[in-house]
């Protein structure tokens, strides 16, 4: 095989070419790729391009549309309610951090032998299997005044007067809503962490134990460095998820009482006020914000989680290089 063979057989007929290994390989790749690529293009890229196009128009779902240039984008940046909605996302980001910490905690517990491990795993993962709308309805009743949560707290001796109005009180309602998404996604994050932790070589634990490492040391110096890429991935997904939080506020409070996230406002503009162009522009602005956040996080983690090479930490490398530079500078000065 290889180039030589090809040069000899330049006079191959078309049919023969088709039978060659390369052609077959090519065909298999193309046919296998065709279906997923078609789906991806038809249901993701084409609609996205249409959305970009719509964002430059003043239009409704039905009826004529008018090209307005950047007016929709200017409008987005002039609306105070839109950026107030982004502040609501901060609650969900806080929730995301709590969620990852919890997931990490549970995953670490479960990576060592635990009784009834699979029961706990299943129980924690279960909420993720419920659809978001159903989760919303569950918590609608959970938080309703005098219902599940309040009754539980009363069993523990709290008086109803001391319990806040979970959905009405603006000091607490966004926290309550963010908690529902923590409840839903913790299990899923935990399973991802657990998967990554399973791949850590168990010899390392033994070796560490021989060196006198306790559980915290094992977590900090073996587990954490081994799964850092999964942690970063989960964090990035959760933060961009927080920016586009939709189901809890939409189902539970319908975005009222100051719980309207960016998506809820966008949905309201598009479907109730029929300002499709403006909503598309909002979507694209959000996309830009999410890309910015993701890049910023990437850079941040590249710095924070940088453990250098296998042999020495980044800090050590920096120290060494600095020292070398100093030496060189001194040498130069001496010469």
């Amino acid at each position: 095989m290889g180039k030589g063979g090809g040069a000899v057989a330049t006079k191959k007929t078309f049919a023969e070419k088709m039978k060659s290994r390369e052609a077959q390989q090519f065909f298999v790749i193309v046919t296998f790729l065709f279906a997923p690529l078609l789906l991806l293009i038809v249901f993701t890229y084409l609609p996205f391009m249409r959305m970009v196009q719509f964002s430059f128009y003043n239009m409704k779902y039905i009826g004529p549309k008018k090209f307005v240039g950047l007016a929709n984008y200017i409008d987005v940046f002039h609306r105070t309610e839109i950026f107030r909605a982004l502040l609501v996302s901060v609650y969900y980001m806080g929730g995301a951090v709590v969620q990852l910490a919890l997931a990490l905690f549970f995953a670490t517990l479960m990576v060592f032998k635990v009784k009834g491990e699979s029961v706990f795993k299943a129980a924690l993962f279960f909420p993720y299997l419920i659809c978001g709308i159903a989760v919303g309805f569950i918590f609608k009743f959970f938080y309703a005044r005098g219902f599940v949560f309040d009754s539980l707290l009363q069993i523990f001796g709290m008086k109803l007067e001391d319990i806040p109005y979970w959905l009405q009180d603006q000091r607490i309602n966004n926290v309550a809503l963010a908690a529902t998404s923590v409840w839903r996604y913790t299990g899923q994050n935990m399973i991802m962490f657990l998967g990554a932790m399973m791949s850590v070589d168990t010899d390392l634990y033994e070796a560490a134990a021989l060196d006198g490492a306790n559980n915290w040391h094992r977590f900090r110096y073996i587990i954490l460095p081994s799964i850092k890429s999964i942690i970063v991935l989960n964090l990035i997904l959760s933060i961009s998820g927080s920016l586009s939080a939709f189901e809890p506020p939409y189902v539970i409070t319908n975005g009222t009482m100051g719980t309207g996230t960016y998506f809820v406002i966008m949905n309201r503009l598009a479907h109730e006020n029929q300002k499709v162009g403006l909503a598309c522009a909002m979507a694209i602005v959000l996309l830009a914000i999410i890309i910015l956040c993701t890049v910023a996080q990437k850079l941040f983690f590249a710095y924070v989680f940088d453990n250098g090479t296998d042999d020495e930490s980044k800090a050590a490398v920096r120290k060494r290089k600095k020292a070398e530079q100093k030496k060189r500078a001194q040498k130069g000065a001496a010469v």
Binding site: K60, K140, R145, Q170, M257, G258, N273
Partner: protein, 456 residues
């Protein structure tokens, strides 16, 4: 060889499709229509006794199609033994009808789906007579006519008012129903002081019951059938306070004040619509501001249906009281059916609208103008029930355009109404400020759409 076959097959397919596409448009029912009588010309019981036909009626009422509706058909068949009437219930009515109507082969009578534009009605439905003469006889015809010809007659209609529990209102010591916003609020206060019931239940959490407040700002608050669809779009500052406490401001004033005086449920954010129906029946809730369609549901949801009453919305305009009446779904006849079927359908429709007990059974305003109001609207004596006039030609979409552009969202966005409650609850803005904002948005929309401001 293969390629040629493919091309041939492709061409054949393309031809079949283009043929099929032609098929739909060339057989309109215009010719048949000439032989049809107007629905007002038919003499029930005597005319068309010789017609033999079997007709099918489509309905969205899956719950009563085999009981109540079948009963009407049987009564009619005793009167006209040669005509067989059959009902078919359609779940997901609007969606299915959108698909079935264009085929022409769906049955004989249906409710006109909301997706059919006025100008398209003649493609699917037979003319029932001219608008002018039918309008003398039937209620709520203003919507389903085009070019002076009537294509649909509503299955009765509903009036805008307030649901209340008669027993609780009496126990609170109220002897006379309120006629102004302030009297209404005083009554709610009495209920708060003298009973354990929640004076006014907003159903805030469900969203749409808040949007329902918008239904009262038209005829009810102004007495003017042109206000909603014609004048509102041209009015400057329509939400401003009027000295006589009428107009949209008065409606929202009731909501705002009820909330800020703590006359509503403790935690609006966790209110529950399904439960509220039973609660007003039992007397745990005294009042709910909802359309008359909800009355039957509230009556059916508990052991004391006789306690559930319906009163007009408390606004008086120049000493007179008004309520808005809106038609339900409209009946229409398939113009693709045979002539005999169309006539039989018209006979049945006339019987259903004029002789059957359908409106008493459903507790709605009857189709005939000469019939009295149903029992559920007995408190509406002396209250004039009017429906909104349609927008004048050329301005059919003007109200929607201003409404959407301004984002005030009357009757299509619940959030602005929710915001009234929020402002009252947290005390962040007073009603004048809020209504000022609505006016500003309204003006900005009028300006950007180039709408003339007119004085009325």
């Amino acid at each position: 060889m293969k390629a040629k076959e493919m091309v041939a097959l492709g061409t054949a397919l393309a031809m079949t499709f283009s043929l099929a596409a032609c098929g739909g448009s060339d057989d309109s029912g215009g010719v048949v229509a000439a032989n049809l009588p107007g629905i007002d010309m038919i003499e029930l019981g005597t005319d068309y006794q010789d017609i033999t036909a079997s007709i099918k009626i489509l309905t969205n009422r899956t719950d009563i199609v085999d009981t109540v509706y079948k009963g009407y058909a049987e009564q009619f068949m005793q009167l006209y033994p040669n005509i067989t009437v059959e009902y078919e219930a359609v779940t997901d009515y609007e969606e299915s009808l959108n698909l079935r109507l264009p085929t022409g082969d769906w049955g004989d009578i249906c409710y006109i789906p909301t997706s059919v534009a006025k100008s398209e009605m003649s493609e699917y439905f037979s003319p029932l007579g001219d608008y002018g003469s039918l309008n003398e006889i039937y209620n709520f015809l203003s919507d389903k006519n085009y070019g002076g010809i009537q294509y649909g007659i509503p299955n009765g209609g509903t009036a805008g008012g307030v649901i209340y529990n008669k027993r609780i209102w009496k126990e609170a010591g109220i002897t006379e129903l309120p006629a102004t916003p302030d009297e209404f609020l005083d009554c709610l206060q009495k209920i708060r002081d003298n009973t354990d019931a929640i004076p006014l239940y907003t159903n805030f959490a469900a969203g749409w019951p808040m949007g329902a407040w918008d239904q009262y700002i038209g005829v009810t608050a102004t007495g003017d059938p042109d206000f909603m669809l014609n004048n509102l779009a041209h009015t400057k500052d329509p939400f401003a306070k009027r000295d006589d406490m009428s107009g949209p401001y008065a409606v929202y004033y009731v909501l705002y004040e009820a909330v800020s005086r703590k006359l509503v449920e403790d935690d609006p954010a966790s209110s529950d619509w399904e439960a509220s129906k039973g609660m007003i029946n039992k007397g745990e809730i005294a009042t709910m501001v909802l359309g008359s369609w909800a009355v039957e549901q509230c009556r059916e949801s508990g052991a004391t249906p006789e306690d559930v009453g319906y009163m007009p919305f408390p606004i008086t305009v120049d000493g007179k009281r008004y309520a808005s009446g809106d038609g339900n779904y409209s009946y229409a006849i398939n113009n693709k059916a045979t002539e005999d079927n169309q006539i039989a359908a018209m006979v049945y429709l006339k019987w259903l609208l004029e002789e059957s007990t359908i409106f008493e059974d459903e507790g709605t305003i009857p189709a005939l103008k000469s019939e009295p109001l149903p029992d559920s609207l007995s408190e509406f004596d002396g209250v004039e029930i009017i429906s909104n006039n349609p927008a004048i030609e050329g301005e059919e979409t003007l109200f929607d355009d201003v409404n959407n552009e301004s984002e005030v969202g009357i009757n299509n966005n619940d959030y602005p109404d929710c915001e009234i409650l929020e402002c009252a609850l947290y005390g962040t803005k007073d009603l004048d400020t809020l209504m000022g904002e609505w006016n500003a948005k309204w003006s900005a929309a009028q300006e950007s759409l180039g709408v003339d401001i007119l004085k009325y």
